[in-house]
């Protein structure tokens, strides 16, 4: 069963919740799909045993053939290729690896090679957690290339916790796409509510069941709760705005390690999801 943890707004506590769910239950898969800024390892402290390099195909141009590469520049939707006379200027960070320039360019003068876009690190964390994190190479916009390689590592007979990237764009949608349930984390502020609403739009259109965790409860206003009640949305948990939680978070101490009574609360959420929501 795949449970993803997402939020429209960044910094609402996705990783706090995802890590707590994994630690409370144990013997699960933990997937850090926030490959642009993976941080779950700070809390789970996995013993990384294995690294996998993720590559994409990128073109290179044999300019010594004297061929005209103009068509490659015209074709590239992402503007990764410019042509000045016989010279080709290639921008690897913009290339999506579609291979179009091989098709439209001068035959035999455009080649392809594997280029590293990031790594997947694998290891074990307590208790019995199989840990996977994607780590995108800075400057490369190949988030989904890495996430799709991570998809292949999921052990489907286990509970799988996916820590999603923030926002509601492609990387978030891709992370969620196979989820049986999504836990949306928000904060009780106007910004939190706005982005919660956007996330719910995404989940509705993807037909994925969801519930809400309100983090830093006590700040802002009561509008998020009002919104959930009005729309019949399950509030799974409220985490108070608490200096002790914040202080420990900043030192890499998860909620369940800081105060073990949280383990029961997160296990209850997982029980609810397994028995009633899915």
């Amino acid at each position: 069963m795949i449970i993803s943890v997402a939020s429209g707004k960044g910094g609402t506590g996705k990783t706090t919740v995802a890590v707590s769910l994994a630690m409370a239950r144990g013997y699960c898969n933990f997937m850090d799909y926030d490959v642009e800024a993976p941080n779950a390892s700070f809390f789970l402290k996995p013993d990384i045993k294995n690294e996998q390099t993720v590559t994409m195909k990128q073109p290179y141009f044999l300019t010594e053939t004297g061929a005209d590469f103009k068509k490659c520049a015209e074709f590239c939707h992402f503007n990764a290729v410019a042509v000045a006379g016989k010279e080709v200027i290639f921008f690897p960070e913009l290339c999506h690896g579609c291979g179009g320039c091989l098709l439209v360019g001068p035959e035999g003068s455009v080649m392809e090679k594997d280029v590293e876009v990031g790594k997947i690190r694998k290891g074990k964390a307590d208790p019995g957690i199989s840990f996977f994190m994607g780590d995108l190479k800075p400057g490369y916009m190949r988030t989904i290339t890495i996430q799709s390689e991570m998809d292949k590592l999921i052990e489907h007979d286990k509970i799988v916790i996916i820590d999603c990237p923030p926002g509601t764009s492609c990387p978030m949608v891709f992370s969620l796409k196979d989820s049986d349930y999504c836990v949306l984390v928000t904060e009780p502020t106007p910004y939190g509510l706005n982005d919660l609403d956007l996330s719910i739009e995404v989940l509705k259109s993807m037909k994925i069941p969801y519930g809400v965790i309100i983090n830093r409860d006590g700040i802002g206003d009561g509008k998020v709760e009002e919104y959930c009640n009005k729309n019949n949305i399950k509030i799974l948990l409220k985490i108070p705005n608490d200096m002790g939680i914040a202080r420990n978070y900043s030192r890499g101490v998860s909620l369940v390690e800081y105060d073990n009574s949280w383990a029961g609360k997160f296990n209850k959420i997982l029980d609810f999801i397994e028995k009633e929501a899915v």
Partner: protein
């Protein structure tokens, strides 16, 4: 000499646009006969690489030089590969810019003066 100028409008009274890649128009001005043509910058709404696409447009227009308010690293890289002279940091009208160029008052820019994505975001109202 042919020079491509990032422009906010379609005539010589328009202002030099502060953005290179995402300006609405380019005025391609020929200083040998004082003729000019206006080219729509069709790549200005590109998701990424607008500067590269615009630089390609300038190369294709056979310009020898480019004038703009700001030039980012990718466009600058293309211009230096294509040996096109870059005059950046220019403001005022297109006409004023051309007069300065003719009098030799513009100084060639030797590096990009803004970072990538300078011309994107909510501060630009288009």
């Amino acid at each position: 000499m042919k020079v491509a100028i990032s422009s906010s409008g379609t005539d010589l009274g328009s202002n030099v646009d502060p953005r290179f890649g995402r300006c609405p128009y380019f005025i391609i001005y020929d200083t040998s006969n004082d003729n000019f043509e206006v080219v729509n910058n069709q790549g200005r709404q590109a998701m990424g690489g607008a500067g590269i696409q615009a630089a390609q447009l300038v190369i294709d227009s056979k310009a020898d030089a480019v004038i703009s308010g700001n030039i980012g690293p990718n466009s600058y890289h293309v211009f230096s590969s294509a040996s096109i002279k870059v005059y950046s940091g220019v403001s005022g009208t297109i006409e004023e810019a051309i007069n300065k160029l003719k009098k030799g008052e513009l100084k060639e820019t030797s590096s990009p003066d803004v970072s990538s994505h300078f011309g994107t975001g909510p501060n630009w109202n288009n």
